[in-house]
C-alpha cells in the first residue's frame, strides 16, 4: 500500500501542470479580453445593421451617432455626418482614431469585471459627449468646399476642440464604392504637413528670445523680376517678393523669406531647435483623452548645412507639423505662453446616468515665456491688421499667420496653403488652423476658409453659453 500511495504522489505533478495551464489560460483571457470582446465577430456588439453602442453627441447634445433597434444611425444632416466622420469614426473600424473605434470599450460599456453585461442590461453602452460643435464642423466642411485638407478650432483657455474637419470624407450612411486616398485618416490627429511660412512664428519666437537687437535689425531682400534672394551658406534662399531693406514687423507681415532665413542662419540649429522643442516639436503630444495619439511635429537640424537651416527657418526643408500640435502651439501663444492639453471628449456617462469621466483643463507646459507670447501676439495681430485685413475677421481682433508650403520641386506642383491664428476678443477664446492641400496662395484659399469658420464661431449662440 505504501508504494502505491507514494506513486500516487506523482499525480500532484499533473495537478501542477493543470493549474499552470489554467493560470496561463486565465492570464491570456484577462490580458486580451478587451481585444477579443471587441472583435468584429462578436454578435453582442455587431449585427448586420451595424454596431450596438452608446450615443455620441456634440457639445450641445446633437446626436452624431446612436443605435436604434440594433442599427447604427448618424446625424440626420448629411453635411454634419461628413464633417464629423473622421472624429466620430465609422462603425466598421476603418477610421482607427475615430471615437467609435478608439473608445469602443467605453461606448459598449465593456469592462473586464462585467464583460458586456451593461450592454445586455441597458441595450446600449455609455454615452460620449464630445467637445465638438456640429454646426461649426458643418460650417468648416462647407467652407472647404470640396478641397482636401484640415480645419481645427480649439478653445485656447480650456483645450476643448470644437471643430475638426478632415477631407476627403464620405457619408457613413452611403459609403462610396471607390476609396479616396486619406478618407479613413483623421489628418488633424494623424497628418503631418510642411508648415511653410507658418513656421516663421517659431523662428520669430526663437529670435525674440535670443536676439535682443531684433527690432533694430534690417534684412536684405533684393533681386530681379519681383523675386528677392539672399545668399546663405553655399546657396540662395528665394523670396516671393522684393522687400529691399526690411525691418522685422514688415518682414513678418509680408512673410519675407530672406529675412527669416537670415534669422535662422543667425540663430543657428541649436537655438532654433531649443525653442521648437520647448514648444513640443520632436516630442509626442499627450494622447487625446488618453487614447488618440497624434503624429509628431519634427524639426531635425543635426548635421544640416547653413542653407538647409535657412530653408528650415521658413518652414521648408524637412520641417513637418501636425495640425493638432500646431494648433496647441498657437493656443499657447494666445494663452500667454502656457499650452493646454487638447480634448475631444467632454464627458462619458453610463446608461444609469453616472458620470464616468469628465474633462479637466490641464496644462502641458510653458511653450513660450509670457513676454515672448505677448510679443508674438502683437506681431501676429499686426499681420491681420496690416496685411490680411480685419474685415475678414470682424469683431474678433484676430491674430494670424499664413503659409504657402512648397511640397515638390516640380514646376507645376501645387503648394499647400495654411493659415493659423486666434481671436484676442475675450468672448471668443478660439484658435484655428486651416490646411488646404494642392492649393495656391494661402491668402486666396486658406484665409477665406478661416474667415468663414471664425464667423461661424462668432455667430454661434450655444458656444457662448457653454
Amino acid at each position: 500500500m505504501k508504494s502505491i500511495s507514494r506513486r500516487a504522489l506523482i499525480l500532484y505533478l499533473l495537478i501542477i501542470v493543470f493549474l499552470v495551464g489554467s493560470v496561463f489560460t486565465y492570464y491570456n483571457l484577462v490580458t486580451n479580453s478587451n481585444k477579443w470582446a471587441m472583435n468584429r465577430a462578436n454578435r453582442h456588439l455587431y449585427s448586420s445593421g451595424g454596431f450596438t453602442a452608446g450615443d455620441i453627441t456634440d457639445r450641445n447634445g446633437k446626436i452624431l451617432a446612436s443605435t436604434e433597434n440594433g442599427v447604427r444611425i448618424y446625424n440626420s444632416d448629411e453635411a454634419v455626418r461628413k464633417a464629423t466622420l473622421q472624429t466620430v469614426g465609422d462603425g466598421a473600424g476603418y477610421i482607427a482614431s475615430g471615437i467609435q473605434t478608439a473608445f469602443k470599450d467605453e461606448l459598449t460599456g465593456y469592462t473586464v469585471i462585467d464583460g458586456i453585461y451593461n450592454l445586455k442590461r441597458y441595450g446600449k453602452g455609455n454615452d460620449i459627449t464630445l467637445t465638438l460643435d456640429a454646426d461649426i464642423c458643418k460650417a468648416a466642411y462647407n467652407a472647404m468646399n470640396g478641397q482636401n485638407g484640415v480645419v481645427g478650432v480649439m478653445n485656447y483657455k480650456t483645450g476643448e476642440i470644437i471643430c475638426i474637419v478632415s477631407t476627403p470624407t464620405y457619408d457613413p450612411l452611403n459609403k462610396p464604392s471607390t476609396e479616396k486616398e486619406g478618407m479613413y485618416l483623421n489628418k488633424f490627429f494623424k497628418g503631418v504637413y510642411t508648415p511653410g511660412s507658418t513656421f516663421k512664428i517659431m523662428t520669430l519666437a526663437s529670435s525674440i528670445e535670443n536676439l535682443p537687437n531684433l527690432k533694430s535689425m534690417t534684412f536684405d531682400c533684393n533681386g530681379k523680376n519681383g523675386k528677392g534672394q539672399i545668399a546663405i551658406g553655399e546657396g540662395y534662399v528665394y523670396c516671393s517678393g522684393v522687400h529691399k531693406n526690411v525691418m522685422i514687423e514688415k518682414a513678418f507681415n509680408q512673410s519675407c523669406n530672406c529675412a527669416f532665413a537670415t534669422l535662422a542662419d543667425t540663430l543657428g540649429a541649436e537655438k532654433l531647435t531649443a525653442t521648437a522643442e520647448n514648444a513640443g516639436f520632436n516630442k509626442k503630444m499627450p494622447k487625446i483623452n488618453g487614447k488618440i495619439s497624434c503624429a509628431k511635429s519634427t524639426l531635425k537640424l543635426e548635421n544640416s548645412s547653413a542653407l538647409d537651416i535657412g530653408w528650415a527657418g521658413i518652414g521648408q526643408y524637412t520641417t513637418l507639423v501636425n495640425p493638432c500640435h500646431m494648433l496647441t502651439v498657437i493656443s499657447a501663444i494666445a494663452n500667454g505662453g502656457t499650452a493646454v492639453e487638447p480634448y475631444v471628449i467632454r464627458d462619458i456617462t453610463t446608461p444609469s446616468g453616472k458620470t464616468l469621466y469628465s474633462m479637466q483643463v490641464q496644462t502641458i507646459g510653458e511653450y513660450f515665456s509670457p513676454e515672448t507670447a505677448a510679443e508674438l501676439t502683437e506681431y501676429m495681430r499686426s499681420n491681420v491688421k496690416n496685411n490680411y485685413g480685419d474685415y475678414r475677421f470682424q469683431n474678433l481682433q484676430m491674430c494670424g499667420k499664413t503659409g504657402t508650403a512648397e511640397i515638390s520641386d516640380s514646376e507645376d506642383a501645387k503648394p499647400n496653403a495654411l493659415f493659423t491664428g486666434f481671436s484676442t476678443n475675450p468672448d471668443y477664446p478660439y484658435a484655428i488652423i486651416v490646411v488646404v492641400e494642392d492649393s495656391s496662395f494661402s491668402i486666396k484659399t486658406a484665409v477665406p476658409v478661416a474667415s468663414k469658420v471664425m464667423a461661424a464661431v462668432k455667430n454661434n449662440k450655444e458656444l457662448k453659453n457653454n
Binding site: 500500500m1 508504494s3 502505491i4 500511495s5 506513486r7 500516487a8 504522489l9 506523482i10 499525480l11 500532484y12 499533473l14 495537478i15 501542470v17 493543470f18 493549474l19 495551464g21 489554467s22 496561463f24 489560460t25 486565465y26 491570456n28 483571457l29 486580451n32 479580453s33 478587451n34 481585444k35 477579443w36 470582446a37 472583435n39 465577430a41 462578436n42 454578435r43 453582442h44 465593456y110 469592462t111 473586464v112 469585471i113 462585467d114 464583460g115 458586456i116 453585461y117 445586455k120
Partner: protein, 416 residues
C-alpha cells in the same frame, strides 16, 4: 463519545449548507430557464429540474440517514457540475433537457451499481476478462459499423439512440487495468494490459477520435505506473508512442492539417480557428460574473454545448464559476491521492487515481483546446458537456473515486 458526536453533527451541518447552496443555485437556474423558455418547453424543463433535485435530495438523504455514510465531497461536486451541464443543455436545447436528465439518472444509477460491484474484489477479478473482451469488441464493432460524424467514426446509432461506445469503454478500461492483485510490482503482469490498451488506442486512432485515443493512452500510463512503478518502461512506451504519432502525421498529412490552426487560431479566423476564436471572443464578453444564463451568443456556434461548453460557462456564468469548475476536477484528483494511502486494496487506489486523473486530463484537453493553449481535439468537458454517453461515463468513473474511501464500505469503522 461526546467529541465524536460533535464531529458528526458538524459534518451534517456542512453537508446541509453545501447541499442548500447547490440546490439554490439549481433552483435559480431553473427559474431563469422557465421564465425565458417557450411555453411548449416549460413542462420539460420543470420535470427535468424537479426530478433532478428530487433525486439529488433522495441520494443524500438515503446515503446519510439509511447507509449512515459520512463524507459527500465527491457527490456534491458531481451533482453541482451535472446541474450546470443540465442548465446549459436545457437553455440551448430545451427539448433535449429530459433526454439529458435520463442519461444523468442512468449515470447516477450506474454510479451506485458499480459501487456495489466494486465492493467485491474477487468478483472484479473474475469480471476482468469478460469486460476486456466486451470492451474491445465494442470498439471493433464501432469501427466496422459506425459512419463518419464530424470527421470521426465514433458514434453508433441503435434504434434512434446514438451512443459513443468509447465513453463506456473508458470505464471498462480502468476496471480492467486496475483489477489485478497478483504480482503487483512485476512487469510481466503488465503485458496483457499493454496488449489490451494497444488494441483500444489503435481502434480509436482508426476512428480518427484522436482526443479519446490520447485520453486512453494517458490513462494507460497512469495505470501502468501505479501498478509497476517502473519509470523506464513508461518512458519507453511514451517514446514509442511519440514516434508512432510523428509517423502518422508524416504519412497522413491531413491528420496534421486538422491541427494546423494550433497557436494561430486568429489567422484561421473563419476556418480551422473558428470555434476557438469564438470561444475566446465570447468568454471575454462574459466578465467575472457572466451575462446570465440564456444571454450568451456562443450558444449559436456549432458544438457549443459539447466541445465548447467551457466558453458558454465563461460567457453566461462568468469566469469565477468557470474557475470553480476547473478546481472541481483538481479536487477529485486530490481526494483520490489522499485516500489512496488508506485504501483497503491497491485495486481501489489504482481505480480512483486513474479515474480522477482521466477526468482532469480530459478537462485539460477540452479547456486548453478551445482556448488554443493545446490543439483542439474535440473531447467533452466531464459532467458538463451535453451527451448521454459522456455523462454516464463520468458518473461511473466517480464510483471508482468513491470506492477508494474506506468510509464507503465502512471497513475499519472510523473514516480517516
Amino acid at each position: 463519545m461526546k467529541s465524536k458526536a460533535i464531529k458528526n453533527s458538524s459534518k451534517n451541518v456542512n453537508l446541509l449548507i453545501m447541499l442548500t447552496v447547490i440546490m439554490l443555485f439549481q433552483l435559480i437556474c431553473a427559474a431563469t430557464l422557465i421564465s425565458k423558455c417557450e411555453i411548449e418547453n416549460r413542462t420539460g424543463i420543470i420535470i427535468t429540474f424537479g426530478v433532478y433535485i428530487l433525486v439529488e435530495l433522495m441520494y443524500f438523504a438515503g446515503a446519510r440517514l439509511i447507509l449512515k455514510r459520512r463524507g459527500f465531497e465527491v457527490e456534491l461536486i458531481a451533482f453541482l457540475l451535472t446541474g450546470i451541464g443540465l442548465s446549459i443543455t436545457a437553455s440551448v436545447y430545451p427539448s433535449l433537457a429530459v433526454k439529458q436528465l435520463i442519461a444523468a439518472l442512468i449515470g447516477i444509477f450506474g454510479f451506485i451499481a458499480l459501487q456495489i460491484i466494486l465492493r467485491d474484489i474477487n468478483l472484479c477479478q473474475k469480471l476482468r476478462y469478460p469486460v476486456a473482451i466486451l470492451a474491445f469488441g465494442l470498439l471493433v464493432f464501432t469501427l466496422v459499423f459506425a459512419k463518419f460524424t464530424n470527421g470521426a467514426k465514433n458514434w453508433l446509432y441503435i434504434g434512434g439512440m446514438s451512443i459513443q461506445p468509447s465513453e463506456l469503454v473508458k470505464v471498462a478500461f480502468i476496471f480492467v487495468g486496475a483489477a489485478t492483485l497478483e504480482k503487483l510490482q512485476s512487469n510481466k503482469s503488465l503485458t496483457k494490459f499493454i496488449i489490451f490498451a494497444l488494441g483500444c488506442v489503435g481502434a480509436l486512432f482508426l476512428m480518427y477520435d484522436f482526443g479519446t485515443a490520447l485520453i486512453f493512452f494517458f490513462t494507460f500510463i497512469v495505470i501502468s505506473f501505479m501498478r509497476s512503478g517502473d519509470v523506464r518502461t513508461i518512458i519507453l512506451v511514451c517514446a514509442a508512442a511519440l514516434m508512432g504519432g510523428v509517423l502518422v502525421l508524416n504519412f497522413k498529412p491531413y491528420v496534421a492539417n486538422r491541427f494546423a490552426a494550433y497557436l494561430h487560431v486568429w489567422d484561421y479566423f473563419d476556418s480551422l480557428g473558428y470555434q476557438q476564436t469564438r470561444v475566446m471572443i465570447y468568454s471575454a464578453s462574459g466578465g467575472l460574473f457572466g451575462v446570465g444564463l440564456g444571454g450568451g451568443k456562443l450558444r449559436n456556434v456549432f458544438a457549443a454545448t459539447e466541445d465548447l461548453v467551457f466558453g458558454v460557462v465563461c460567457e453566461e456564468f462568468g469566469w469565477i464559476l468557470a474557475a470553480a469548475i476547473l478546481l472541481s476536477y483538481v479536487a477529485l484528483l486530490v481526494y483520490s491521492i489522499k485516500h489512496a494511502r488508506y485504501a483497503r486494496s491497491s485495486f481501489y487506489a489504482i481505480c480512483a487515481t486513474a479515474a480522477s486523473a482521466l477526468m482532469l486530463f480530459q478537462a485539460a484537453l477540452n479547456v486548453f483546446g478551445v482556448n488554443d493553449v493545446l490543439p483542439l481535439t474535440g473531447v467533452t468537458l466531464p459532467f458538463i458537456s451535453r451527451g448521454g454517453s459522456s455523462i454516464m461515463c463520468c458518473w461511473m468513473l466517480l464510483a471508482f473515486i468513491k470506492a477508494v474511501d474506506r468510509g464507503t464500505y465502512r471497513y475499519g469503522g472510523v473514516r480517516q
